[in-house]
Amino acid sequence: MDITYTIETIEKGLFVIHTSDGRMIPPDDGNADYRAYLAWVAEGNTAEPWNDTPTEITPPPA
C-alpha cells in the first residue's frame, strides 16, 4: 500500500506530517519516516493541508 501524506501546520511555524495509515511524523532530518516523506516530495508529490484550522499547541522545550 502506497503511503500518502498531508501536512498540518502548528503555530510558531511548526508542522507535522500525517500519513494515510494514521501516523504523525515530526520534521526531524534523522527520522526515517520524515526522510521517506521528503523522498515522496522529491518524486514530485505535494502534501495537501491536513485541515484549514491550525492546531493550537505549543512545542515542547528544545
Binding site: 498540518e8 507535522v16 492546531t55 493550537e56 499547541i57 505549543t58 522545550p61
Partner: protein
C-alpha cells in the same frame, strides 16, 4: 628407580621422568610442574607462560578446556570485556515484541529491532514459540524465535534478508568481528549468507555505504550454532553524515539473494525455503563467545531507544490541559530517550477525564511535536464541553489502547 639426569644440561632444559619434570636453571635441577602430570600442567618459564592441558601455551595462561571461577574474572582490555554487553545486537533472542507482531509479508519491523527486507515473491517473517523445555540450545530456555519463509522468488533482483541496524557506523570499524546465531531449516540444506553494511548516515555529504561479505553457513533441519568471522573496514577518510545518530551498521542475514547481489552474498542464489533464527550475536574478536543473556529490563530499555509502545489499559494515562472547548494539549515523557524525534501513532479508544464531570471521548489526535525525550499532542473531541485551562487526564476509554513512538532506522 634411579633417575638419570642428563649430563651437561643447558639452561631452561626440561627433563621428564615418569609423571614429573625438572628444569635446569643453570646451577641445579628444579621441580617443574610440581606434582602434576606434565601433560596437564605445563610451565614455560622461558616465555613466562602456563598451559593447562596445553603443552605449548601461547598466552600467559592458556587453557584447553572449560574454566570455572567462583569470582568475577576481570579484564583490563576495554575492547574485549569478558562479561556484559559484548553483543551489539539488541534482542538477539527475539523475546521483546512490543509491536505484538505475529507475522508480516511487508518490508518492516517485527520483533523489536529486527527488520525484514525483501523483494519479489512472497516472504513471510513470523514469530514462533519454542516448546517449553525444547530450546534451540541446551541451557538457553527461550520463548521466541524468528521464521522466514520465502516462496515464489526467481528473479535476479529478488532477495529476502533478516536485518538489524546497529546504531553508529563507528561500531567495530577496523576490527575483527564474529557473527553467530542458531538456525535450522524446515528441509534440505539451505545456506545463510552473512553481510555487514557500514552506512554513514544522512546530512551533508556522507560517504557511500560500504558492504562487506562475511561468509556463508550451511544449515540442517536441526538447531545448530553457526558463526562467521571477518574484518570490518577502517573508516579512516570516510565522512559521517551531519545529522546526529543516523549512521549505522546493518547486519544482514540473507536467506535468499538473486545474482544481482552475488558480491554481497557470496553467490547465495535464490532459495525458496523456510529458515528459523535464534540467538544472534555480533561481537568483536574471532571467537563466538557464549550467547549473552541480558536482564529483560535492560534488553527492553535498549529496544525502547528505537521503539516504544505505552499501553494505557486501566492505567493512569497522561496529563494534559484544555486549550479550547474541543481540544486539550497532552504532554509527557517517553520512557527512554529516542535516537531521533520519533514518529507517533495511537491505537484504540481514549477519553479525557476531569474531576466531577463525565469523561469526553477523544475523536482524533493532531499536532504532534517532540524532542527525543518529550512529546506533546492535541486530543480533539467532537463534544464542545471542555473548560479552558482545566487540567485533565488523557486515558483509556475501553480495551487496551496504546501510544506508539518510533525512531527506528
Amino acid at each position: 628407580m634411579a633417575i638419570d639426569f642428563p649430563n651437561s644440561p643447558t639452561t631452561g632444559q626440561i627433563f621428564t621422568s615418569g609423571d614429573k619434570s625438572w628444569i635446569w636453571d643453570g646451577t641445579v635441577w628444579k621441580a617443574y610442574g610440581a606434582s602434576l602430570s606434565p601433560t596437564v600442567l605445563k610451565v614455560d618459564s622461558t616465555n613466562s607462560r602456563v598451559g593447562i592441558n596445553n603443552q605449548s601455551p601461547a598466552y600467559a595462561l592458556d587453557v584447553d578446556g572449560t574454566v570455572e571461577a567462583t569470582q568475577f574474572i576481570q579484564g583490563t582490555d576495554y575492547l574485549t570485556p569478558y562479561t556484559g554487553f559484548r553483543n551489539k545486537i539488541i534482542n538477539g533472542d527475539f523475546r521483546i515484541n512490543q509491536r505484538v507482531f505475529s507475522s508480516t509479508t511487508a518490508n518492516g519491523y517485527g520483533h523489536d529491532r529486527w527488520l525484514l527486507l525483501k523483494n519479489g515473491g512472497t516472504v513471510t517473517y513470523s514469530t514462533q514459540a519454542f516448546t517449553v523445555g525444547s530450546p534451540a540450545a541446551t541451557g538457553y530456555e527461550a520463548q521466541n524465535y524468528a521464521r522466514i519463509v520465502t516462496s515464489g522468488q526467481s528473479a535476479s533482483g529478488d532477495y529476502a534478508v533478516l536485518a538489524q541496524p546497529i546504531e553508529d557506523v563507528r561500531t567495530f570499524a577496523n576490527s575483527t568481528v564474529t557473527i553467530s546465531f542458531w538456525a535450522k531449516a524446515s528441509s534440505g540444506t539451505p545456506k545463510v549468507a552473512v553481510q555487514i553494511e557500514q552506512d554513514f548516515g544522512t546530512g551533508g555529504s556522507p560517504s557511500s555505504v560500504v558492504k562487506t561479505y562475511f561468509g556463508q553457513v550451511t544449515l540442517s533441519t536441526s538447531w545448530a550454532r553457526y558463526s562467521v568471522t571477518g574484518a570490518l573496514p577502517n573508516i579512516n577518510g570516510k565522512t559521517i553524515g551531519t545529522t546526529a545518530n543516523t549512521s549505522s551498521l546493518y547486519v544482514n542475514l540473507w536467506v535468499s539473494g538473486g545474482s544481482t547481489f552475488n558480491s554481497q552474498t557470496g553467490s547465495l542464489g535464490i532459495q525458496n525455503t523456510t529458515i528459523d533464527f535464534w540467538g544472534v550475536q555480533v561481537e568483536r574478536g574471532s571467537v563466538a563467545t557464549p550467547f549473552e543473556q541480558r536482564p529483560i529490563g535492560a534488553e527492553l530499555a535498549l529496544c525502547q531507544r528505537y521503539y516504544e509502545r505505552t499501553y494505557h489499559g486501566a492505567g493512569p494515562g497522561v496529563l494534559g490541559f484544555v486549550d479550547s472547548t474541543t481540544q486539550a494539549s497532552i504532554c509527557g515523557q517517553m520512557m527512554v530517550e529516542k535516537r531521533v524525534a520519533p514518529t507517533f501513532a495511537t491505537s484504540g479508544s481514549f477519553e479525557l477525564r476531569r474531576g466531577g464531570v463525565a469523561a469526553t471521548a477523544v475523536s482524533s489526535t493532531t499536532g504532534f511535536a517532540a524532542t527525543t525525550k518529550q512529546y506533546r499532542f492535541a486530543a480533539n473531541t467532537s463534544t464542545a464541553n471542555l473548560t479552558v485551562g482545566q487540567c485533565l487526564l488523557f486515558t483509556y476509554a475501553s480495551g487496551d489502547p496504546y501510544l506508539e513512538f518510533s525512531s527506528e532506522f
